[in-house]
């Protein structure tokens, strides 16, 4: 079976526990985190996680919904992109 990997992008105000909460949720969803990066860009906290969701029952749609529910009360925005999108747009 082909691997399905997604980039989870978290954008907003830096605060305690973001990585812990997001990675906890990914674990609950059956995803395996392969890479984590974070940076403050133009005053905004940005974190990206590359996650293998091949074994996740809920898939990217379920993951996106769960992340939205987690992020909204924290004032964060979350995007989930298939790895293929990032690859197409940023590599030839």
């Amino acid at each position: 079976m082909e691997k399905e990997r997604v980039f989870v992008v978290v954008i907003g105000k830096d605060q305690k526990g973001i990585i812990a909460r997001v990675s906890g949720l990914l674990f609950e969803q059956g995803a395996n985190i392969e890479d984590v990066q974070q940076k403050v860009m133009d005053g905004t906290f940005v974190m990206t996680m590359l996650a293998d969701i091949t074994d996740s029952a809920a898939g990217s749609a379920g993951l996106r919904q769960a992340l939205d529910e987690l992020a909204a009360p924290l004032g964060l925005k979350v995007m989930v992109h298939n790895e293929a999108v990032i690859k197409a747009m940023h590599r030839v």
Partner: protein, 452 residues
């Protein structure tokens, strides 16, 4: 393969903050094999095929959008030009019977529009072509999701002025057929109409196409505007490079979606249309890009040059990103759908004449603009002839989507709501060209040699 946080954030930011999306996925469908003397049978068979394919298109596009994390906004169908389909139908109301079945199919499938209710009459009109033309006011006035078109000129065949003269009257009837003249917003008059255009109102599935083809229209005025705004110091050479790089990226996203959706549907991938298409959303505006380049307002001296630079960069960036660029692939400048264009008209910065000049360097033409309700049929024909002549002489596509809004005068505002936006009614030159167009006949095609 590793990706920097900057790269991933750039994609996420384009969608979150700059309105990047896949504007339209349009499945072109051949219906020629359904041609029948019985209009009822033709309509039923067309309905069944389109409802079935449309449902699959909508569900697969939704699923793909979810899994990719890229918004796909509009799902549409385009069909074989309707005039070809009704050729053998003797029944007087065959166009209407077909149109109602198509409209029903669009509703059942959940597609936004079905395009292709039109004819190619650049050199002459068949009986069926004329029947479709004459049916347009009633069809577009009484259906919700049907889009119509006529191709009235090509660079190879010249311009059919007899048909353009008739179209002036048809447009007047079309304007009267529905509230605010909105039926006119679903109709385009073309020169050099592309057969694989995914954008409405002018999409149709041409005679040179396979049984089906999935065409994709991307969008990104907001993205381009953001990068232009970030580089106020760049000279025009640098600005062109910056725009090219950005359009390359968004076109690659569009191509990925198109190829994957075509694979899932089991149909050939057609083209990516790299047009910049504004929406009524704040900031998703082609006019604001031009203003970001340094124009005080769209319509100011320099506007045509700025637009030429923009579209050149869009084409070069897009063409490098996809091996299948097609459709209109220009810059859309629909007045009613672009906040900066609306403002510019209201402030007196942008006139109809300047708008026409702009269309000489970008594709698409005079789009979604309103003129006073008492504009005569002859003047509408003359406006269309002018615009199509630009396309004919310059070997490019041009189109006209004009709304002679009933009961309005110059300076009024017509609010169509939703995607169609609101159009300030633009004044038209008070001197007449009616006697010229009334001569009728055909305008010969331009020379294709002796071009120095």
């Amino acid at each position: 393969m590793e990706f920097g946080v900057d790269e991933v954030f750039e994609t996420a930011g384009m969608i979150l903050f700059e309105h990047f999306d896949i504007r339209a996925v349009t499945l072109g469908v051949n219906l020629k094999d359904l041609i029948d003397r019985d209009a009822g049978r033709l309509a039923r068979d067309a309905h069944d095929r389109l409802a079935g394919l449309g449902k699959r298109l909508v569900s697969e596009a939704r699923a793909l959008s979810e899994s990719m994390g890229l918004p796909i906004i509009n799902k549409r169908l385009s069909i074989t030009p309707a005039a070809w389909l009704i050729e053998p139908c003797a029944q007087a109301d065959a166009p209407l019977v077909l149109a109602r079945a198509l409209d029903q199919a669009a509703h059942e499938a959940g597609v936004d529009f079905i395009g292709g209710f039109g004819a190619l009459v650049q050199k002459g009109a068949t009986t069926a072509d004329r029947r479709i033309m004459e049916s347009l006011p009633q069809v577009l006035g009484s259906t919700q999701r049907i889009c119509g078109f006529l191709n009235l000129a090509t660079t190879l065949a010249g311009m059919n002025m007899d048909a353009i003269v008739r179209l002036g009257h048809i447009l007047k009837d079309m304007a009267a057929a529905a509230d605010k003249g909105i039926a006119c917003a679903k109709f385009v008059a073309f020169c050099n109409a592309p057969e694989d255009n995914p954008f409405m109102a002018g999409a149709f599935h041409g005679g040179g196409e396979a049984d089906a083809a999935l065409n994709v229209g991307i969008s990104g005025p907001g993205v381009v505007r953001a990068v232009v705004d970030k580089h106020p110091e760049a000279d025009l050479t640098e600005l062109s490079e910056i725009i090219r790089r950005t359009v390359f990226k968004i076109t690659r996203g569009g191509e990925l979606v198109g190829r994957e959706l075509a694979r899932r549907l089991g149909v050939p991938f057609g083209v990516v249309d790299i047009s910049l298409a504004p929406t009524t959303a704040m900031g998703d505006s082609v006019g604001r890009i031009l203003e970001g380049m340094g124009l005080e307002r769209v319509g100011a001296p320099g506007t045509t040059a700025a637009l030429a630079l923009l579209i050149d960069a869009v084409k070069k960036g897009g063409a490098m990103a996809s091996g299948r660029v097609g459709g209109l692939s220009g810059t859309f400048i629909p007045v009613s759908e672009d906040e900066a264009m609306i403002e510019a008209v209201q402030l007196g910065a942008l006139s109809l004449e300047k708008l026409e000049a702009m269309t000489a360097v970008c594709s698409v033409g005079l789009d979604m603009f309103a003129v006073p309700g008492d504009t005569s049929a002859g003047t509408l024909s003359a406006i269309i002839a002018d615009e199509l002549a630009i396309g004919m002489a310059n070997n490019k596509t041009t189109g006209v989507r004009v709304i002679p809004a009933p009961g309005t005068v110059a300076g009024d505002m017509v609010d169509f709501g939703g995607l169609l936006g609101r159009a300030p009614v633009m004044p038209v030159c008070r001197f007449s060209g009616e006697a010229f167009v009334a001569r009728g006949g055909s305008m010969p095609p331009p020379l294709r040699s002796l071009r120095n």
